[in-house]
Subunit: 212 residues, 2 copies
Amino acid sequence: MSYIAERRSEEKERRRAEIVDAAERLYLEKGWDAVTMDQVAKSARLSRALVYVYFADKSDLLFAIGLRAMQLLKQRFEETFARHARGIDKVEAIGRAYMAWAHEFPHYFDVCARFQAHEVRPDAGTNEGACALAGDDALSVVVRAIHVGMEDGSIRRDVGDPMGLACALWACTHGITLLAMNKGKDLAHHGLAVPQFTNYSMDLLRHAMKAG
Amino acid sequence: MSYIAERRSEEKERRRAEIVDAAERLYLEKGWDAVTMDQVAKSARLSRALVYVYFADKSDLLFAIGLRAMQLLKQRFEETFARHARGIDKVEAIGRAYMAWAHEFPHYFDVCARFQAHEVRPDAGTNEGACALAGDDALSVVVRAIHVGMEDGSIRRDVGDPMGLACALWACTHGITLLAMNKGKDLAHHGLAVPQFTNYSMDLLRHAMKAG
DNA sequence: GCCGCCGTTGACACGATGTCAACGGCGAGA
DNA sequence: TCTCGCCGTTGACATCGTGTCAACGGCGGC
C-alpha cells in the first residue's frame, strides 16, 4: 500500500516536471505572454484542465519555472565562488556568471525580470514564495563573496554593509543585463557592441568597489 | 472651411489627450494589466470602439503614455543639468532626478520598465518609435553631462566613450530604481531602508566614475 | 434643400482563462 | 471473486477582454 502511494507520488512529481518542461520549451520559443495553457497541455500530451490540477493558474506555473531558474542560478554562483581566490574576483566573476546565465537561458532571465518587476512577496507555501527564497539564497552567495573581499582587502572597507553592496550590485548587473538582452540593436545603433558594453560595465562596477 | 478642419483637428487632438488622461488615471490606480479598454473608454466617456480609432491597439495606447513619460523625463533632465556646475554633479543629480521621477510617477516608470523589457525598435511613425526616440533624447542629456565632466576634470578620462558610460549608468540606475520601487519590503526584510539604499547606490556609481 | 463625409456606436467573432460535473480504471475490503 | 469508492482525467461551460465591422446620424458643402 505504501508502495503504491509512493509510486503515485513519483508519477505525480514526474508529470508535474513534464508540464514545466513543456512550458519552458514554449516559453523559450515564443515568450511567456504568447504561451497559452492549451499549448502547454497539448505539448505535455494531456488536457488543459489537468494542468490546473498541478498549478493554480498561469502565474503559478511561471513561478515554478522561476524556481528552477533561481536554483540553477544559485548553483552557478556557488561554482563561480569556488573558482576564484580573492573576494573581488569572486564578486566580479559572479556578476559575469549572471550575464552568462541570462544569455544561456533567456527565458530564465525573463522570469527573473518579471519577478523583479512585480511587487508582492507572499508566504513560502506558494511557488512565488519559494522563488523569492531561492533568489535570497543566490544573493547570499554574493554577500559571502563580498565578506571575503573585505577580509582579504581586495574590496574597500568603507563600502559599508555587505548586504547593501550585494543588493546594489545585483540591481546594477540586472539593469545592465536587461539592456544587453533586450536592446542590443539600440546599443549597436549608438555604436556599442553588446560584449564590449557588458565588459565595460563590469569594469565600472569593479572600479566602484575595489580597494585603494 | 480651413477653420473647420482646424477646429476638428484640435478637437481630435483634445479627445486623444482625454483618452490618454483616462488611461493614465486607471494605470496609476490599478496597474496596466488590470486596465481594460472598456474602462478607459468609459472613463473618457465614449465607446470602446472609438478608442480604437485613436489608437491601433492597447499597446499603442501604452506607448502614447510612454511618450509623455519620456518627454517629461527629458525635461527634468534638462532642468537638473542646468542646476549644477561640475559635470559629475550634473550626472549624479540626473540619476537622482530619474529616481525622483519614478517615485513621483510610478506608472511612467512602469512604462519605462516595460519598454526596457521588450525587444523591438520599429520605425518612428508609431508611438513606440516616438517613445524610443524621446528616450534617446533624454539619454543625450546624460551624454552631455558626462562630456562636461570629462572637460572639467571631475570625471576620470579613462572612463572611455561618454555614450558607453551614459548607457551603463542608465542601466544601473534603472536597475536600482526597479529594486527600490518594487522590492521595498524585501530590502527592509534584509535590514535596508529604501532611501538609504538609493543614496548608497548613487554614491557607489559616483565613486565608479569620479576622477582621482 | 439634398448629398456625402466622418465621427460614433452596438453588436459580433474569436480566443484565452479558470471551473465543474461526470467518467472510468485501479486498488481495497468483504 | 465481486463490488465499492477514490482519484486521476477530461470535455464542456461560463466569463471576460480584444479587435473588427456594418450601420446610423449630424454637420458642412454643393
